[in-house]
Every structure is written in C-alpha cells, then in structure tokens.
C-alpha cells in the first residue's frame, strides 16, 4: 500500500529544510541581517546619527550696525534643535573654525554692510564653507540669503518711496521694518530618523539579494537533480513551490524583524506603531517572495537568476528611495517610486515613523505590497511546475 503523504506536510518539510540550510549559511546571515544593519548604521551616521542633521554655523558681526546686530541675535537666539548658530568674533576666527572643522560653515556680515545699503553698490554677505560639509554650507547660504533678501526688499521699498517723492529711510529704520510675508518651515509629518528610514530601506535591498540566492538554489537543485529526487517522491510540484515560498517568506520576515530590533535598540530608531510595522514587514516579505519566485520561474540559469535578482534589487532600491528618500527626487521619480514595492514599503514605514500613524494608515501600503507579492507569486506557482515537468 502506498504511504499517504500530506502535501501540507511536504511543503513544511521543504520549507524547514530550506530554512535550516539558510541559517547555517554564514554568507546568508551576513547578507540578510548583518549587511543591512551595518549599511543602515553607516548611512545614519552620515546623516548625523539617529537624531538627524547636526551642525554649528558661525556668525560674525563685523559691521556692528543694528541691522547686523539684529540678524546675529536673531539666528543665535533661535531654537533649531541640532542646528546651532554661534557668534564668532572675527572673520579670521570663523575661517579658522571652518578649516578646523569646529564650524560647519560661517556667515560674515562685513564691516560697513549697513552703510553700503544706501549706496549704489552694497557689500556682499560672506559665507565661509568647507568642501566636505556641503549641508552646513547650504544652510549657511540660506541664512545669508535671508539677510540679503531682507536688505534687498528694504532697498526696493526705499527706491519706491523716493520715486514717489518721499524721504529715504535710514538703515536703522529699514532694519525695524517687519516684512509681512514669511516662510513657515514647520513640516506636517514630523521627522524620520535616518536609522528608521534607512533600516527598512537597506533591509529590503539586502532581502532581495539574499532571497535571490533561493531562486538561484532552486535552479542549482534542478541542475544537480536534487529537485528530481524530491519530485520523484509522493510530493506534488505545488507543494515544493509552496515550501520554497514559505521559506522565503520566513527568511524575509525574520530578517526585517531583526533589523527593526537592532536599529531600535542600538541606533535608537523609532519605526513607529509596532502593529503597523509588523504588518508592513510581513507584507514586504510577501512582495519579495513573490518577485523572487517569478525570477526563479523565468530565469534560464543560475547565473541569469543572480543577475536578474541583482538588477531588480538595485533598481527597486534606487527608484523606491532606499538610498535617497523620494522627497529629495524630482516629481517624476517620486511617482515612479510607487511602481516599486520598495517605494510603497518605505513610504509606509516613513508614515509610521514620522507621522505617528497606525495600522489604518498603512493599509494602502500593505495592500500594494501584497499585490506586488501575489501577482508574480501566482504567476510563479503556475509557471514553475510546468517548467519542471517540461524538462
């Protein structure tokens, strides 16, 4: 009498053996867990640690006028978190500070600046920068532009007054004028710490690469006829495909959960609502498993599976915003990011982390990720047994 073998049991056996092999494989542990955490950590540090961007900008008042005084006291007195403005005594001291790295950049209001506003050729506000502190330099330029814009607006107003037959106001009067329009730089979504953003970003990139190994192994098992040995048993092809898919799902979920735990504990990242994060992690793993399955189904050889996996992983990472947040990209690329599972996942994680969202806020992201997994996954489930049986 033939032994009856439950196909569910067969699928679990395939998945269990696959997982055992992955967990024993050091390169998989490096690629699936250590790699993304290390890379997320490095990128986080590059962006100023878990607290975000940090810099000290020097401000020099070489003019001594009320205009310059108000400017310096305005910026040094403002509470801007980790962005600090520090009064520096002279332009030379500011240059030395920038060169030594004590200051990220410096803004110098030159001597005679206020008086020059009444002439036809007003003096420039000087910005001292260092080539390797580009973000500080941009901040310093923006601050200097604020002062010059204000001065230019006042000069424009004065010129209009004179043209209308009025009297030219003094620089001190101009400094006292309140400009009616200001920029409100307060965000609506809060801040995402770099570790909370790049953790899942790098996790997804490496996940694609590591589960690509599963696709490659499936083809290798076919070449070495190990798959034949399994298929010669009382096991349906669907159970084998399901087992491999379960294994990838478990690997993906575990890998992202570990990255979440480590970035939270070691890098202080706050990924947001745990239920929402868990849901997004599982949905992301489903997306990766489905796409990896399709790669295994369409790849002609182990080499082509590896190449396809690498290309897909990096294209999704680049477009999806794993390296550069989509908000920093042109509109077209921002829209493109939502054509990738990485884009949906990262947007979901960002909404949870920055916006304090919960499960309800990530439902669209979860649905999109499940679609990214199920559509190619079903295609793979249909294609793979046919490819195996066709020889």
């Amino acid at each position: 009498m033939p032994r009856h073998v439950s196909q569910v049991r067969a699928a679990l056996l395939v998945a269990g053996t696959d997982l055992r092999r992955r967990l024993r494989n050091r390169s998989f542990l490096v690629q699936g867990i250590v790699g993304p955490i290390a890379l997320a950590g490095i990128i986080s540090l590059a962006f100023g640690g878990s607290g975000g961007f940090e810099a000290t900008i020097g401000v020099v008042d070489a003019d001594g006028s009320p205009v310059a005084r108000d400017f310096v006291s305005g910026v040094t007195g403002a509470d801007m978190g980790d962005l600090r403005f520090e009064r520096v005594e002279s332009a030379d001291a500011a240059r030395a500070g920038v060169d030594d790295g004590d200051l990220g950049a410096a803004v110098v209001v030159p001597e005679g600046f206020a008086a020059s506003l009444e002439t036809g050729a007003p003096d420039d506000v000087v910005v001292l920068t260092s080539a390797d502190r580009t973000i500080s330099a941009e901040v310093a330029r923006a601050v200097a532009a604020g002062l010059t814009d204000r001065a230019n607006a006042a000069r424009l107003g004065a010129a209009a007054t004179v043209a209308a037959g009025g009297e030219l106001p003094s620089p001190d009067d101009l400094a006292a004028v309140e400009l009616p329009v200001r920029v409100d730089a307060t965000g609506t979504g809060g801040d995402v710490s770099p570790a909370a953003y790049f953790g899942p970003g790098m996790g997804l990139l490496f996940l694609f690469l590591s589960v690509g190994v599963v696709a490659r192994d499936l083809l290798a098992d076919r070449r070495t006829r190990l798959l034949d040995r399994i298929r010669a048993g009382p096991v349906r092809d669907g159970a084998i495909v399901a087992g491999k898919g379960l294994s990838v799902l478990a690997i993906g979920t575990t890998s992202l959960l570990v990255i979440w735990a480590v970035t939270s504990l070691a890098l202080g990242a706050d990924w947001g609502d745990p239920a929402g994060v868990t849901l997004l992690i599982v949905a992301s793993a489903v997306a990766v498993a489905g796409i990896a399955g399709l790669i295994a189904a369409v790849a002609r050889s182990e080499q082509s599976a590896e190449t396809l996996t690498t290309v897909v992983a990096f294209v999704f990472a680049m477009i999806g915003g794993a390296f550069i947040p989509p908000g920093s990209l042109p509109d077209a690329l921002q829209r493109l990011s939502l054509l990738t599972p990485t884009g949906w996942a990262l947007q979901g994680f960002a909404d949870l982390s920055a916006g304090g969202g919960d499960v309800a806020d990530v439902v669209p992201h979860v649905a999109a990720l499940l679609a990214f997994g199920l559509v190619p996954g079903l295609a793979a489930a249909w294609l793979l047994p046919r490819r195996l049986g066709a020889g």
């Binding site: 073998v5 067969a10 034949d228 040995r229 298929r231 010669a232 096991v235 349906r236 092809d237």
Partner: protein, 330 residues
C-alpha cells in the same frame, strides 16, 4: 540496425505487461521541439527483476527514466508502476519508486543523517520509523561513524553511497538507478555494484541505466539497448549475443591496410561481420576455431603484419556494434 522500436513482449524473452510486472512502459515518446529524445520506447520489468537500459550518452536513457519516475510529461505512451498509472502528479505510483540520480542529489551543507531524514520524511515515514531507517541505511552504506558530517566534506565514493541510501530509505518496490557509477573510483564502484546485486537478490525490482556494458552484464537479468531514443533490442545477455549470429569474436591487431583487411575478412565464409578498431580489426565469426586460419590468410593477402590475435566470446559491446554499426562509447 533495427528498423523499428520494439514493444514489450516483442523481444525474445521479454516479460509482457502481466500482473507480475512491477513496471510497464508502452510507446513512450518525448520531443523537444524538432528533436525526438525518446521514440516509442516500451519495456517491462517483472517483480524481482533487474533490468538494464544501456546505450551511449545522449541515447535517451535519462529521459526514459525521468518519464518512468513521473518527472517529465510525455508526449505519448503510458507507464504503470506496481499497477498504478504514473505521471507528474501520481503520488501513489511515485511512492513505489526509489530514484538514485546520476548526480549526487544531496544537500552538501547538511549531514548525511539530515539528508536521509529529510528524504525519508518526504516519502511519508514518521519520525520514529524514519530515524530507524536512516540508521539502517547508514549502516548499510558504512557511514554510521560519519553520519553527522556535512556531505560536502565527504569523498566522492561516500557521497555516491549516501546518494544510493537516500533512494532506499522508504523500501521502494522499484529502485531506479541512473548511471550510478559514473565518475566513481574502482573501489566505490565495486561496492555500489555489490549493493545493487544484493538488493536484486533480495527481490527488489531494479531499473539500471549505464553505458558500461560490463556492469549490465554483471547485474542485469534482462537488458534493453537504446540508441537515438529508440529501444533497438531487448533480452537476456545470451539472447542479445545470439542476435548477432556470431559465436565468437576475433580481435586482430596489426599494421598495414586495415580497411582492406577488414573487407577481406567480411567476405570470408563463417564471418558475420568485421569492423576496424584502433590499431586492428574486430571480426565476428560463427566459430572462432574454424575461422582463424582464414583470417590469418586474409591478413597475409592484404599485407597486414599481425601483432596480436585473440579469440574472445562476444559481449554487449559487440551487440551494440552489430546493431548500430558504432561503438558504444563513441
């Protein structure tokens, strides 16, 4: 060369699709685009019989056993194993088969014990029975002491033995071995052949593919010869040799115009055929002792200097040469 593929029962001595048959294949056909890999192949294996499927590389042996094991879909034909129809989804029929692929089909990053446990459980063995069978199989192939070592760390021979053990765990009714001795050292090869002999003696039905004639001669009760996807002859070794019509073979080595010498030999009375081989001519004769004088005379007439002459009993290599006009290992 045979004109048509043969069906079960057509060849002398063939067992034809009876209730005692473990495997029945009829009219198997498989094509890949324009290429016909298997063309109307049919044979049967009785319970307890060891059947050899021999042929050169690319003849269609592996495709045939892939169809037999339900790994490949077929374009035509039917297969039954232990009375159950076989196909890719036929789990009942598959449970009766133990496959030993030509390649070492094991996870190299798992130990032999883990590999065998996995394959045993896939075959439906429960945990306790599986553990007992694994221990038994490891004992059989002499790997009990190395059971916990990764297969990747094994020698080629140890891997091959584990490969065979994995096909036996569930005590199949039909063991299918696909060229199990390719690339194996002589000592391991002998151990594998002894294992197959022992299994056959215990009453296991065996389908054994090889392109080594001496293995087929040693192990198989009946032999099917396959070439270019067609089963061109089938029978016991004696029956196949008898098909040649030659009782003996005379191997002549020498120098000179060997083509002319072969042609002269072929024209001699009592000669079934003569073919050139490296540095000599092989002459198949009805009776070696009476043909020798004529062969020596033909050599002298053609100016061939004989370096050696040997009278041997024809083997399956000669059968294949006689049937196809080419050497098995060409």
């Amino acid at each position: 060369m045979a004109d048509a593929a043969i069906e079960p029962g057509e060849a002398a001595g063939a067992v034809g699709g009876g209730a005692g048959d473990m495997l029945v294949c009829r009219g198997l056909r498989k094509t890949y685009g324009e290429r016909v890999a298997v063309d109307h192949v049919g044979f049967t294996i009785a319970r307890g019989e060891t059947y050899g499927l021999i042929g050169p590389n690319g003849a269609g042996k592996t495709t045939t056993i892939s169809i037999v094991c339900g790994l490949l879909t077929r374009d035509a034909g039917e297969v039954t194993v232990a009375g159950r129809p076989m196909g890719p989804g036929a789990t009942d029929a598959k449970a009766a088969i133990g496959l030993v692929p030509q390649e070492v089909a094991l996870y190299e990053d798992l130990s032999a014990e883990e590999n065998l446990t996995f394959f045993g459980r896939l075959q439906g063995l429960d945990r306790r029975t599986g553990a007992a069978r694994v221990a038994e199989a490891l004992e059989l192939v002499g790997l009990t002491d190395r059971a916990g070592d990764r297969v990747g760390a094994y020698s080629g021979g140890m891997k091959r033995r584990t490969n065979i053990a994995a096909g036996l765990l569930h005590r199949p009714q039909l063991l299918v071995l696909d060229e199990p001795t390719v690339g194996v050292d002589p000592q391991s090869r002998n151990a594998i052949l002894e294992s197959v002999e022992a299994l056959g003696a215990e009453g296991l039905s065996v389908l054994y593919t090889t392109h080594y004639m001496e293995e087929a001669e040693r192990l198989c009760d009946r032999i099917g010869i396959i070439d270019e996807g067609r089963l061109i002859a089938e029978g016991t070794r004696r029956e196949l040799v008898a098909r040649l019509g030659a009782g003996d073979r005379v191997d002549v080595s020498g120098t000179g115009d060997l083509d002319a010498f072969a042609a002269a030999c072929a024209a001699l009375p009592g000669v079934v055929g003569a073919d050139r081989r490296d540095g000599g001519v092989v002459v198949r004769v009805v009776d070696g002792s009476t043909a020798l004088a004529g062969i020596v005379g033909a050599a002298a007439a053609e100016g061939v200097a004989i370096a050696g002459i040997e009278l041997v009993e024809p083997d399956l290599e000669d059968v294949f040469l006689g049937l196809t006009g080419k050497a098995l290992r060409d």
